[in-house]
Symmetry: C2
Amino acid sequence: MIVALGGNTLLPMDDETMAGQRRRIRDAARNIATLTEGDSEVVLTHGNGPQVGNLMLQQEEAKSGLRFPMDVLVAETQAQIGYVLQQELGNALEEAVSTLVTQVRVDPHDPAFENPTKPVGPFYAEEEAKNRAFQTTQVKRQDGRTMYRRVVPSPDPIEVIETDQIAAILDRGGMVICVGGGGIPVFLEHGELQGVEAVIDKDRASAVLGAELDADEFLVLTDVDHAYLDFGEPDQTPLEEVTTDELHQYLEAGEFEEGSMKPKIEASVDFVEGGGERAIITSADNIEAAMAGETGTQVIQS
Amino acid sequence: MIVALGGNTLLPMDDETMAGQRRRIRDAARNIATLTEGDSEVVLTHGNGPQVGNLMLQQEEAKSGLRFPMDVLVAETQAQIGYVLQQELGNALEEAVSTLVTQVRVDPHDPAFENPTKPVGPFYAEEEAKNRAFQTTQVKRQDGRTMYRRVVPSPDPIEVIETDQIAAILDRGGMVICVGGGGIPVFLEHGELQGVEAVIDKDRASAVLGAELDADEFLVLTDVDHAYLDFGEPDQTPLEEVTTDELHQYLEAGEFEEGSMKPKIEASVDFVEGGGERAIITSADNIEAAMAGETGTQVIQS
């Protein structure tokens, strides 16, 4: 089973200290630990949006002037989040859980490189944004203010480089944390891998890993209990059991928010169409009920 | 075989950018790649002194005020260095190499906690050092200036938490990078692991891992070609083949520098006395000659 945990669900907005992160991660770990009952193999992936944003802000503010590229910062967040997750999960399960630094290959000719769309890092006022050496875009903050953020390409994941190593640990019976932040984006040039300034959607990358590992189930954990039709409207309707064909229609109708629910729906469809039994979208505190089929958006084959 | 790579050998003093780090790491990777000829299993460990120092400096200078504890910063350097190493080694070997985020258990009653000795992080002038919330010590910089640095405890490593997972990947035939920076220091309390503000010597931790994995050889790579008697004196003598008994005598005579060559010698002695065939101390560009027994300090059983 692949379990994808949202980066926002791992960091409380009102307490970004490590103590705050650890509290949130501990809660998630206790819920995830219940999944190993019945001997299922569990691979845990996670987002890193706010965490990589904090590292970008930190190195921008520091006088010392060291500026690491996105691939290295994504790697750092894999261990920053992975370490606390592996420790808290290990404590909950009473066995060692491991984190693998994971690269995910993308196509250097992916059209995403022509059209960067993924906002990352700190928020800037309009004047500050103009002076940056990188492309920025207007975004609306949670407090309603219009500000600017850097945008980077979000190419499609093609393959996870370390799948054999992940499988080796799973076969030994251990839980694995990997593909953090969607994986470190790399491409092949002259037969050699190299990092690239981009961010891969973690749900899409998790679906690719799920297909590579022949996983039966894909659990997408986020901060809502279901995907919704007409989300945010007075008549919003939770999606319960839904087929991939139905989801294709909803996607065409523009039902799901870009960069938020849409990639989760696409990744769920990809996973089930690639041979998975079901994908579930729900929140971490609904894990047990969702696994029993009692809540969450349950995506099945048509 | 366990190969321990010095943190200083991975970062050029005159170019701490990621481009500089990557150049240095690529050179080391090409040398290390030669070790896999003849099907030996290779586990690579590495230091992180200057790299964790840069992260400490960066978060101290940043206005945003997030201050992560040492265990989390050590984790971040494991992935920062591990990612570049795994990519460059993978390119040299034409196969995937993986990095595991690694915890190393210490004893909360280790006397090191009463007497912090390991300097870490930025250098401070005397006045700056007085205002810090942590213990500092006088150190002599390479340029001869006397300054101050934070000191943290350096407890003995007891066990590597993720040894089974490391073995699972080795058994599958892959090279593993782990125990970066000596491992993330953790201790057990009420049956649960938790991180602690300390730094474990990476050579000592590597020797512990070598014993756990029943490794035959332990290669300690540093910036000198041998360990020396009377190091730095006009009549300094390189140690070539040397037994553990001889090294005990030299250790008692105070031959080796604290925090530098001494822990490498102690780790080599521990490894060979724990059942290893030989330990070698040399520089990365001497790997092939040293493996052939032609150079380097070769530590053997008495």
